[in-house]
Structures are given as C-alpha cells and as structure tokens.
Symmetry: C2
Subunit: 436 residues, 2 copies
Amino acid sequence: MDKQKLKPISGFPEWLPEFRLIEQRWIDTIRQVFESYGYASIETRAVEPVDVLLKQGDTDKEIYAIGRLFEDRPDAKPEYALHYDMTVPLARFVAAHLNDLVFPVKRYQIQKAWRGERPQEGRFREFYQCDIDVIDRREIPLHFDAEMPAIMTEVLDRLQVGAVVTKVNNRKILEGFYRGLGIEQANEVIRIVDKLDKIGASGVARLLTDELAVPADRIAKILALAEIKGRDDSVIGRAKALGVSSPLLDQGLDELAFVLRELGTQVGRGYVADLSVARGLAYYTGTVYEAKFVDWPDYPTICGGGRYDNLVGSLINQRLPGIGISIGLTRIFAKLVKEGRLKPGRKAPTDVLVALVPGNDYATAKATARTLRERGIRTEQYHEERKLDQQLRYAAAKGIRYVWFPPATAGAPHEVKDLDSGKQGPADPRDWRPSL
Amino acid sequence: MDKQKLKPISGFPEWLPEFRLIEQRWIDTIRQVFESYGYASIETRAVEPVDVLLKQGDTDKEIYAIGRLFEDRPDAKPEYALHYDMTVPLARFVAAHLNDLVFPVKRYQIQKAWRGERPQEGRFREFYQCDIDVIDRREIPLHFDAEMPAIMTEVLDRLQVGAVVTKVNNRKILEGFYRGLGIEQANEVIRIVDKLDKIGASGVARLLTDELAVPADRIAKILALAEIKGRDDSVIGRAKALGVSSPLLDQGLDELAFVLRELGTQVGRGYVADLSVARGLAYYTGTVYEAKFVDWPDYPTICGGGRYDNLVGSLINQRLPGIGISIGLTRIFAKLVKEGRLKPGRKAPTDVLVALVPGNDYATAKATARTLRERGIRTEQYHEERKLDQQLRYAAAKGIRYVWFPPATAGAPHEVKDLDSGKQGPADPRDWRPSL
C-alpha cells in the first residue's frame, strides 16, 4: 500500500475520538434546540438527480457526480450527484410528499453535504450542515423571519462559539430599490453587489459599468444603499432618504422593520441590518441572513439563509413559500479547533474500567461490569490478564476516571480507584456512583 | 421540471417525519449501548481512495466513484469513491493515526454507506450501518469475540426487532479442515461454501468439482462439516468425529468452544454455532458472525462481522489485529416498516402548541412559549392569527397533545387544552408540566 493513500484528503475533515466527542455534543445540542421549537427531523438521501441540482443557480462546477466504478456505459451522462446543500433536497422531498406531510412543514436536517470546491480556509468538500426550514401551502407569517435567526443565535450561544454577528437584509429592498432606479436586471445587480466584500466598492462600480452599463449616478445610489447598517428603525429612514421608491422597496423595508423589532425583543445585540447583504443564491425572495465570526471577519459565512417563496413550488407549478436557515457546523467547528478554542474531550466515553486482576476469576469481573452497566454506568472490561500497572496506564491514557477491582475471593469487598484523586477504597457495584 | 425527477430513487430509502423519529430513537439506543461498553465514536469521510477500497475483495462492481460534474479532465480515472462499509475506512483511519490513538482502539461508527447493487428486497444502495470494532497492536483476547455478539444482541433486544438468530463460526475451522483434507485453495473453497444458502449442497458440490476439481469423498466431508449446528460443545465433538485434523482446525475449534461458553452465560438462546457460515469477505481470519431474522430466513443477513487479524496491518506492514460487528440498521428498519411491525411516531416533536388567539397580543404568546421552552418543554408558536379551529386541527394532525391559550388581558389565567382527553383548564406556564 502506497503510504500516500493513508494521508488526509484535502477538504474532507476527520476528527480523533476526543474531538468527535465534542462534535457529537454539538449535534445533540443543536438537535435539542431545534426540537424545542417544534421542528421535526428528516434525512434525505445523499444524491439527487443532476437536473434537480443544476436548476438552482451558480453551482455547476461544485457538484460531485456519482457513477459505478465499472459502469457498463462509461460515456453515459451522470444521472445522480451528491447534494451540495439541504434546501434543494428539502424542496424535492416536500414536492414529492405533498399529501403525506402536514403543513406548515417544519423540519430540521443535520447531514453532510459535498462540494467540489478548491479547498481553502473554511471551505470544505465534505461538511455538516444543520438546517431548519418552514414550507407552507399558504403565505408564511413574517414571525418566522424573526424566529429563524433567534433559533440560530440560541444554538450558537449554547455552543459557546464566541461572538457572532448576524446580518439581516431583505431581497425586496434590493430588488425594489434597483427597480425604483429604473434598472430592469435587478438579479444581475444583486449578483454583482454580493461581491462587495471581496472586490470592494470600486470593484462593484466597475462591474456595474462594464457588465450592465449602469449610469454613474445610479451606481452611487446602489453603493449608498449598501453602506446602510444599523440595529433599529433609523436604517429604514436612511434607506428612504436616498429618494428612491417602489412598492416592492416599501414592502421590503416594512418587513425588515418588523424583523428588527422582533429580534430586538429576544436576541440581544448580536444582529445588525446590513443592506449590503445579498446572498449569492438565486432562489431567495425576501429576508436574508448571513452570520460571521466577529473575531475573524474574513472567514466565510458561518450561518446563512432566508426566504424562498418560489423554490419548492417551481418543481410542481404550485405556490409553496419557504424560509430557512443553515448552520455551517463543520466550518464553525474546524475554525475553533484550529484556533485552539475547543478543549478536546476524553478519548473514551467509559466511566469505569473493570480491571482483570491477575489470578482472579474472569466471570466475577464480567458480572461486576454487567451490574454497573445495568445501572447506567458506562463500563468496559479489561479483557486481558496483564499487569495492573498496564491496565491503570490504559485507563489514564483514555481519560477513564475510575478503575474497579473485583474481589479475589467471593465475599471479599470490591474496591474502586479514582485516578483523579488517587484514592482507592471499598465499593459495592450495586449502589456505587461515579462523581460528576 | 419533469415529475419523474421527484420520484424515489430505487435503493435510496427516505422516511417521513413519523418514521424518521423512530429511526432516530433507534440510533440513540444503539449509541447508548455501544457507549455503555466503552466504545468511542468516530466518523470517517464518505470517500476513500479507489485503491484502498479495491484492495478488499469482491466489491469492485458495487463501488460508486465520484467526480466533479464538469471535470477538466473527463477521461481521468476516478481517484475517490464512496465507502461501501465502515471496516476498510476504519483500517485506513487507524493506520493513518497510529500515534494519536490509544490501543486497544475501541470505536463505534454509525454512518451511511453506499453500494451500486441491483436493488432487491433488503439490498439498498444507501444505508446506515452501525459498527463496533476493536483494533490493537497486540493480540486481541478471545473475550472480545464473545463481547461482540453480546453487544449486538443487547442492541437488537432493546430495539425489539423480533426473534433473531446469530450464527457463529470460525474461519480457522473451515481453513484448517480444508487443509486437513489436503486442499490448498482453502479460500476458494470458502468462497464457494459461502453460496450454500443460495445454491444448496448440490450446487456447492458441482462448483467444487468443476472449479477446483475437489474429489467426491472430500466434497462429502466439506458438506458434512457445513451441516453441523448446535449451541454447545457437542458441535466440537461432531466436527472432530469427521476424522479430519490439523493444528489450525484444533485452534479454531478451541476458539469456538470458548465463544460458545461465554455466550451461554449471557445472551439467552438467540445464537447457534453453524459451521456452514463463511462470510464472503476475504479479510476474516477467525470468529465470524451472521445474524438473520427468524421469521424471514431468506431475508439477507441483518448483522455480520468477525475477526480480521491482518487487514489493518496490511496497510502499513505491521501486525494490528482487529475484530468487529456491524448492524445493518436500514436493512432491519426497512423490513419492519414494510411488515407493519413498527408503529409510526408523531409527526412533530412538539409538546405544546401556543395558539395565537385572534385579537390577542402576539408578545404575550411569544413570552409564554419562551417560558415553557426554558423549562425544557418543546413548544412551538402558531404564528398566524387564524381561527382557533384551524390551529387545533393543525395540532391534532401533527400529534401535538397540548394547545396553550395565553390570556387576552394581563392577569387573567392561561388555559391549556389536552387534545387526548378533550379537557381544558387554567395553567401557569411557570410550573405546568405535560403528562408523560
């Protein structure tokens, strides 16, 4: 075997048990918060028809197609590919199961997704995403637009990921503003404004001139709108003060004002309205979200989402509005590991190691382990009659706090050693408890 | 969108929320049992180098390779493929992280795997497997050979999957017996005997004659060995009575006798030594397991595993013995769903729906929901001011038992309605509890 084959594959992170334990706890916490708001779990298959995936915008280069290794028809166009997010699969799932679901559908999905991206910091090829979404057959109340970032903020607080800022905007503001300026290709402008972070105001101005021939005075307005940030109604006033108007813009500003008021009552100071936020994907139609680490502003977006009132329905020619938000678990986790902000957990879940004392009866050790286990204590047996020293070293190396010594003769007391304190004393497997 | 694209993909199962809830509970239970024996979680990436996967036997046709959809070099041989099990990835993981792991490594893995098989009952293309394995740098004590099926039996009991029989054998018995008969190509014989279930004794005899030119008297012995089944030491006696001997055979019989004795003390009557069990995969070297539904004996194996003392080491030219067992979660779950033996769960995890009473204050409803949620009660708000009747119907459709009515005026009592009993009465969100 070529040792090269054992090396990590760039963009496909794996964790040793002591970090996997923390990742698991994170997933448990996320699930608990999602369920506490009434969202139900689903999982969708890893693959979707290529056509379904390609329908949604600018992702064609990033898709991993699958095919049988020794395909009978090697030239055939790939039919299926790994999903790159959970929103498109959800849309397909809901469209396929319309009559089996109760609306509004409120679901969460914690699964891996895959993108054939060039690996760089914060960009993975295989990664966990944790999504909540609502899909309905009726209009979805605006209250959900506030609930989404509130839930996400609660998750990130409980995971203690450090300071995060959630930027909120509304696609109707952008589109309505651009239309109010007399620009027809609003989506093209959005696509370019979305690059503001990367290429700056001058870069955006150049693209708007070169690609869309937007006149300079309108470019100035577009950039002025993108500069507006704030946490209260003043944002609305400043947008209106730019002197552009359209019914869609007014509606977007009303919606944003509502979301800001609701967030103000519940999520502390970790959000901001930021009228530069566009979100790349074509399917958003209203409120959009984008969260960043405060300490690493250049690190990619760690949570994102928004309202997509036409995505699901477009699959079946019905109206099925949707809204959702996605937590980039792997992206967040990997960054905190890299920065040393996550303390590794233990290397084993074991509470107690039942030693196999040389010369002792194996059956006694086994019965002891079973008794402890039946009482909910995670117990492993050392299955090899080795020197006690070796067994203690094993326990210490795995972070197992207690080592149990069954008696050599029937009726003699059991003993347990606490490796933290070094103390050892008699104990009864029927009522002993580890300290927490 | 072509409606065809919304249809299920054969072999890629998906569950509605009410069954996904049960699948989640199963996974929680499996995880809990695995951890109660001290096994630590890891997850490996979904893909492995094609070479690593191909090294292990007869699986080449079943592998899904991945490649970027618009590959720059479309003729390039695929480099990576989706894993088809968790054992080969574990071997690669351990070989790659030798110095970061504490031995014996005891890990569990609950992940999806993929095989490009022709779909038929019980054979999936995407499926969950739940594996426990031990890998060590020293010889692994035989006690683990008994612990593996004991853990698996405990899991299946707790999941209440119905009657299961676990067949146990030892590769050393087969190989030693065939060598004792003077047959050199023991692995070839094993591969053919493994088809016994499918093609019967006459089919096996024919293949042994045609492909390996085994003389008829030896074929008779081979088939006689394969007929031996039983739960105690008589199995050993009957194997010896066939008059074949070799040191490897003796060792295999000793090991099987040990495992049978240990199982006899702990797993009830759900196991049997069955000297016809071979397991297809080339890497097994000792004890092997194979579990079947008692009620559906033709359904594929639902759990399997065994000892593989050379697999991990072969990657790095060291000796690293291993043993493990794998629960075919999707295979078991899908069968019980199909047979109507699993009662669907609720369509939502929600305990309480806080109604939005027409004319009432939204902020009061929101504060009520928050109070309940902070007390660990899973609470969703109905966000739309619709007729109460509609809200009650929504709760009933999702299986939400309680509907909460915040007061219309400050100071008036809250009320809660139990949809199971139909009773409604006053309640305080600060101390009310749902009944279980």
